[in-house]
Symmetry: C2
Subunit: 325 residues, 2 copies
C-alpha cells in the first residue's frame, strides 16, 4: 500500500508516532518514552524501530512509506533538517535528524517545529479545514503559534516566525520568560493565568482559590476554571484577563495575515465555552468599526494527535507540491 | 518594444502614471488631477488617454504593453478588479476598474491597494530588494502597511490583511479613527504624533512648539522634527513615543511573519536618522533575549514613485507567475 505517511511528534518526555493512509486516516499509532538522555543516535534509532514495528503490525513495509513528517520544539534549521539545540533534549546539538531518519527508513523526511506541525494538522483535517488563511495558538506552559497564509505555513526569513505568544500587547508590562515585557504569553498562557491568580491572592484578593493555594502551595489554570464554574469572582476576573489578552492578539493577527479562522489548542481549552465566549466577546468589543470582520474563533479538534496528524499531513502536502525529497 | 509595463497610482487628488521597460526602468511618467467628482467613466478615460499619450511620446503603442498595474486606496475586491467604495472618490461604487482599463488599453490589469503596491515597489527594486520577507509601513496621515512573506504579498482571506497601523499596542489606549483603541496609528502616524504634541502643550508642557501652536493654530510632525533638531525637550519626548510605538510593532511583526527587513516610508521619514535610530534603539531594548534577531530596519528609497513602480512591478511579477490575464 504505497501512499503511507508517517507522522512523528517529538516531545521532551514522549515521542508519538502514527501511520496514516493516503487519505490521512490513522492506521495505527503509539507513543514511546523519548529517553533524550541517551542522545540522538539512540533516540532516533528507537523512533525508526517503532515505525518498523507499526508497519509490520499493519502488514506494511518500509517501501510503502511515501513520506515522513516530524515535529520538534525549536530552535532548528527546519529546511536543512537539523535540530540546533533543544531545552528538553540537551544532547541534541546540531543533529541532522532528517538525514538520520532517512538513512534508517529510506523515505524522504519533512521537518518543522511542533507548533507549526500541530497548526498544519488542524489546518489540513481539523478545526481549520476548508479555509486558506488560519492562525493557530496553543495555550500551554507558554503560547505557541502557527500561521497559514494562502494555504502555506508562514516560516519567516530565519524559520522563526509565528512565535505569536511573544507579540507585545502591553509595552513594559509583565515580564515574560523570553526576556521581553508585556508578551501575550505573560498574561494568557496556562502558567501566566495561574500566576496572575496567585499574585492576586498573595496581594490580598478574596477568592475560594486561596484554600487551594494554601493547601497545594500553587494554583493551576484548571483550578481557576473549576472555581469559576462555582462562581468565584477572582477566577472570573483572571479568566477575563486571559480572554482579553487573547482577543487583542486575535485582532492584531486579523490586521496582519487576516485569517478566516483562528484556532486555539492546548491544555487550557479544557476550560470550554466560558473561555471561548469571553474571547469572542472581547474581540467584538475591541475590533474596529470600519468594516465588519467575520473571523471565526474556535477550539482545535484533533487533541493530542494534532502533532502526528500534522506531521504526516505536512509530508503529504510537500509531496503534492513536488518538494518532498 | 514588447515588455512595457504601465504603473498607475490613484490618489484622491492626483493620478500618477509611469511607463517602464522590461527591467522596470522608468521610460516616462506624469501626473494628472484625479477629478474624482467627474465619476469613474471620465477618470478612467483620462487615465487611458494619458497612458496613450505617454506611449506616443515614447514611440510606443498599445500593443507594446505587456501588463498594467494599478493601486488605489481600499476597500476593494482586488482579485476581482472592483473598487467597492472610496472615501476620497465617493462616486466610485462597485467600479470594475480593471475591466474598464483593459477595454480601453487592451492589456491585462493587476490591481492592489496603494500600500501593498508601494510595498511591492520597495520590495522589487527599492529598500527591500534582495530579501524574501519584508514588512512595510507608510507613516502619513494614518499608518499603512504591507507584508511580503516568502516572496509574495500577504492579502488575507478577504484581501484586507496587512492593515498594520491597526495593530493594538495599548489595549484601551488612545482612540483611533478606525474605532479601535490603542492602535499604533493612534500614536505614531504623522497626525497622531502632532496631536500628542498639541495635547501635551495644551496640558501645560513647556516647549518651543507652543509658539507654533499659538501662531498657526496647529502643529505638524514636521514642526516637531524641526524643534527636536534645535533641542526642544517635548519634541524629543514626542519623537521617542513615536519611535517606541513603531519599535514595538516591528517586534510584533518579527514574531509573526519574521521579515528580514522592515521598511518605513511616508512623509514622516523626512525626520531622518533621529527617528530611525530611536526606532532601532527601542527595538534592541525591547526585543527578546532568547535569540539574537538581525532584522534590518531602514527607510524607503523610492519616494513618491513607489506607487507607479510598485504597480508596474506587480504586473511584471504576475506575468512571470503566469497569472496575468
Amino acid at each position: 500500500m504505497s501512499g503511507t505517511f508517517v507522522g512523528i511528534d517529538v516531545g521532551g518526555t514522549n515521542v508519538k508516532i502514527g501511520l496514516f493512509d493516503s487519505d490521512l486516516k490513522l492506521i495505527s499509532k503509539t507513543s514511546i518514552t523519548t529517553e533524550a538522555e541517551m542522545g540522538p543516535d539512540v533516540v532516533i534509532d528507537n523512533m525508526a524501530k517503532t515505525v518498523e514495528k507499526l508497519l509490520t503490525e499493519a502488514n506494511l513495509s518500509l517501501s510503502d512509506i511515501t513520506g515522513i513528517g516530524i515535529g520538534t520544539p525549536g530552535p532548528a534549521k527546519y529546511s536543512e533538517g537539523i535540530i540546533i539545540k533543544s531545552t528538553n533534549m540537551p544532547k541534541f546539538i546540531n543533529v541532522p535528524i532528517c538525514k538520520m531518519l532517512n538513512e534508517k527508513l529510506g523515505a524522504p523526511v519533512v521537518f518543522d517545529n511542533d507548533a507549526n506541525v500541530a497548526c498544519w494538522g488542524e489546518f489540513a483535517v481539523g478545526a481549520g479545514k476548508g479555509v486558506k488563511d488560519m492562525v493557530f495558538f496553543t495555550l500551554g506552559t507558554g503560547i505557541g503559534g502557527g500561521v497559514v497564509s494562502n494555504g502555506e505555513l508562514v516560516h519567516g526569513c530565519d524559520e522563526n516566525g509565528a512565535e505569536l505568544g511573544h507579540m507585545i500587547i502591553h509595552p513594559d508590562g509583565r515580564q515574560c520568560n523570553c526576556g521581553q515585557r508585556g508578551c501575550v504569553e505573560a498574561y494568557a498562557s496556562a502558567d501566566s493565568t495561574a500566576r496572575r491568580a496567585t499574585e492576586a491572592i498573595e496581594g490580598g484578593a478574596e477568592s475560594s482559590l486561596k484554600k487551594v493555594l494554601d493547601k497545594k502551595g500553587k494554583i493551576t489554570s484548571k483550578d481557576i476554571y473549576q472555581h469559576l464554574a462555582s462562581g468565584d469572582k477572582l477566577a472570573k476576573e483572571i479568566t477575563d484577563g486571559t480572554a482579553k489578552a487573547l482577543a487583542i492578539t486575535c485582532i492584531n493577527m486579523l490586521h496582519t495575515t487576516e485569517p478566516k479562522r483562528i484556532v486555539f489548542a492546548g491544555g487550557m481549552i479544557a476550560a470550554g465555552d466560558v473561555l471561548l465566549n469571553r474571547i469572542k466577546e472581547y474581540f467584538d468589543e475591541h475590533i474596529w468599526t470600519l468594516k465588519k470582520e467575520y473571523v471565526e474563533i474556535c477550539f482545535a479538534t484533533l487533541g493530542e494527535d494534532a502533532g502526528i496528524i500534522g506531521a504526516a499531513a505536512l509530508a503529504q502536502h510537500t509531496k503534492q507540491q513536488g518538494k518532498l525529497k
